[in-house]
């Protein structure tokens, strides 16, 4: 078992992933409850959470067997923000020094932690910033969808905890993701852009099938919530997608199979993501392989070198992942009178 947590396929070169595992330490906390341990949390534990540096399952009650941490709340949709506040406080107090980034996910969120490390690799945990699927209403800089998962830098977490100590942040609403977004704004934590270098989203509030194939009706709330322009079809989703939501038990294993197992032998992916800065030595193909690749492809270089943006056929301006995309603000339509109930 390598540090990434899952067994490696024969012939698989995971040096880059191993290096990122050491340098971009992620604590994942999973929001669950006593009734969902067998139905949902168990399958999270058997799949994606193995790839986190640290994972903590947060519930209303302690369960030493699973194990889960008891937050001392009740269960229910109205408890979500209370659970979030306490969970993040727990993570800060018990593991604040052991991780650089702190991810919140639901027990029906599937997360590809290796891809999260890629998104975060050019950032530092000292920046007050957080990432997720950015929504725009109700908060000036927007906020991150709760179900799609969001990740705070260590500094963002520190300010979150400080914020509650100083009462700058309070339990404003039980709509957890919105409340988090409001607190983040108050304590000066920036809402980051998690899209890849081809402007494709990485955090997803629905399952892959819906993002790839469904034509959402224009009246669906999703259209007015997304901060960045929505793409339907293949452009909906980055090759290096980080999360999907409303994932049932079967789909957890299906996504694990698609992500970490099933592949097309020899296939050269269209999208060649740029390596994070200061890591390029590991990501470049061995010189021997490079010459083999040259011979086989008639001279097309296989090297993924630093600063190379996008992939084949990508004619977008090369963006540093650190660069904020300054998109014109969307025309303000005015918020609906009552915030809609969010399904959990």
């Amino acid at each position: 078992m390598c540090p990434g947590g899952s067994p490696v396929q024969s012939g698989e070169d995971s040096r880059m992933a191993d290096e990122l595992y050491k340098k971009v330490r992620i604590l994942c906390w999973v929001m669950t409850g006593p009734n969902n341990l067998e139905k949902k949390a168990k399958h999270v534990k058997a799949t994606w959470s193995r790839h986190c540096n640290i994972v903590v399952f947060m519930s209303s009650v302690d369960d030493p067997d699973f194990p889960t941490v008891g937050l001392g709340t009740k269960e229910g949709r109205d408890q979500l923000y209370w659970k979030t506040i306490r969970a993040y406080h727990y993570a800060y107090e018990h593991h604040g020094h052991e991780a650089d980034w702190f991810l919140k996910a639901d027990d029906d969120t599937y997360v590809i932690v290796d891809n999260l490390r890629w998104v975060l690799a050019n950032r530092t945990p000292d920046e007050p910033i957080y990432f997720g699927r950015r929504f725009k209403p109700y908060a000036k800089q927007g906020y991150m969808s709760g179900g799609a998962g969001y990740v705070l830098s260590k500094e963002a977490l520190r300010r979150f905890v400080e914020g509650f100590k100083n009462k700058v942040c309070t339990h404003t609403t039980s709509v957890e993701d919105l409340a988090m977004g409001q607190c983040m704004e108050k304590v000066g934590v920036k809402a980051g852009d998690s899209r890849d270098t081809a402007h494709r989203e990485t955090f997803h509030p629905f399952v892959p099938e819906q993002h790839l194939t469904t034509k959402f009706p224009k009246s669906f709330w999703y259209w007015s919530y997304c901060y960045y322009p929505i793409s339907e079809g293949p452009n909906c989703c980055s090759d290096l997608s980080v999360s999907f939501h409303y994932v049932d038990a079967t789909l957890m294993y299906v996504l694990e199979y698609y992500t970490y197992h099933l592949r097309a032998f020899g296939y050269r992916h269209r999208y060649q993501p740029p390596s994070p800065k200061n890591y390029e030595i590991l990501d470049s193909v061995d010189s021997q392989d490079a010459s083999e690749a040259d011979a086989k492809e008639g001279g097309i270089k296989e090297m993924a070198s630093e600063g190379k943006g996008g992939g084949e056929g990508e004619h977008l301006p090369k963006l540093d992942k650190g660069q904020e995309v300054n998109l014109p603000p969307f025309a303000e339509k005015g918020p609906p009178a009552v915030p809609p109930e969010k399904r959990r």
Binding site: P7, Q9, S10, G11, E12, D13, S14, R15, M16, A17, E19, L20, A46, T47, H51, I112, D114, N115, R117, W118, P208, E209, L212, T213, G233, P234, C237, D239, L240, S241, A249, T250, L251, Y253, V254, Y257, Y258, T259, Y260, H261, L262, R263, A264, F265, G266, Y267, R268, H269, R270, Y271, P273, D283, V285, D286, D289, E292, A293, A295, K296, E297
Partner: protein, 317 residues
């Protein structure tokens, strides 16, 4: 009245038995003589990394250019959505993909075989593919609901010589007859297809309108005809012995594995280099395109000895 009735019944029974005997005799297939040429393996395994290391760079390049696949996709207007999905998804990775239909549709292009009988239609399609093969030496026969990962098919056969007869897929047994399941896709080498097209002319061994009172399925008829030419069904497997061809979809296989291997669901399920799945909805096939050709964890690389480039004019892979 009763005596008339009982005579009638006796007559019916005798007539039925007579028919039964005749048709059984009609479907009797004599065992074929096995020549010293035939290779009686029952499985074809994908090459291991060590096996591939034995090839030189120039041999590998030659292999890459030669392992080209002609996809024979049998469609019908009543499966129009699957037809369109196959066209928009996996078939783009075939070196040539030809759709063969029972009747033409204004919506999509295909070779119209103008033939209602399924076995006769299949024969025509195979003959057409053989006649139009050009330089292509591997043939993949699919149904509308099949999804194939052609790169993995190439990986399976890349160390095999197509001028030898190969007939590969998910093998099943019916009595003494071993055949390749149609729904999970059938792979034929050039030599196998050549022998098949020749035996099509033999009405004794390989009749066009099928044999016996009970119509045999096309997959069994195919196996019988091939058997006459000394070609036997072989099960396609990865280097660990896991089957590569399936008549089920990935959701179904994972569900089964959750019941049978609850502590090791993914490892106990399916091969990393699986070739076919079947019975998936068109949306699930789009998800599979994403899952196979795009979605991956950053920082894990494979230095495969062959490189296959993405097809032109495609955006979902």
């Amino acid at each position: 009245m009763l005596s008339e009735g009982s005579s009638f019944m006796k007559g019916m029974i005798m007539g039925g038995l007579f028919c039964l005997v005749l048709s059984l005799l009609g479907s009797f297939t004599p065992g074929t003589e096995s020549n010293s040429e035939d290779h009686h393996h029952h499985h074809v395994k994908a090459p291991s990394k060590d096996e591939l290391k034995r090839f030189t760079d120039s041999e590998m390049e030659e292999i890459r250019q030669q392992v080209q696949v002609y996809c024979i996709i049998m469609v019908q207007p009543k499966f129009l959505v699957y037809w369109a999905t196959a066209k928009d998804t996996w078939s783009k990775h075939c070196d040539r993909a030809v759709f063969y239909t029972s009747e033409s549709s204004k919506a999509l292009e295909a070779v119209d075989l103008n033939e209602k009988d399924e076995w006769a239609r299949l024969r025509k399609a195979l003959k057409h593919a053989y006649d139009n093969a050009g330089d292509l030496r591997w043939f993949f026969l699919a149904q509308p609901t099949t999804f194939a990962i052609i790169e993995n098919l190439k990986y399976l056969v890349l160390a095999k010589d197509p001028s030898e007869p190969f007939y590969i897929g998910h093998t099943l047994k019916s009595g003494e007859l071993e055949f390749v399941e149609y729904e999970s896709g059938i792979v034929l080498s050039y030599e196998a297809l050549k022998r098949l097209v020749h035996v099509f002319r033999d009405e004794e061994k390989c009749p066009e309108r099928g044999r016996s009172l009970w119509k045999l399925s096309e997959e069994k008829q195919l196996a019988i005809c091939l058997k006459y030419t000394g070609v036997f069904a072989e099960n396609g497997e990865d280097a660990q012995g896991k089957g590569l061809f399936s008549s089920k979809g990935v959701d179904s296989l994972i569900s089964d594995s959750m019941k049978n291997n609850p502590t090791n669901v993914v490892e106990g399920c399916c091969s990393d280099v699986a070739v076919t799945f079947s019975g998936m909805s068109p949306s699930q096939m789009q998800v599979m395109m994403f899952g196979v050709y795009r979605l991956r964890p950053y920082g894990h690389n494979f230095h495969d000895s062959l490189v296959f480039k993405p097809p032109q004019d495609s955006d979902n892979d």
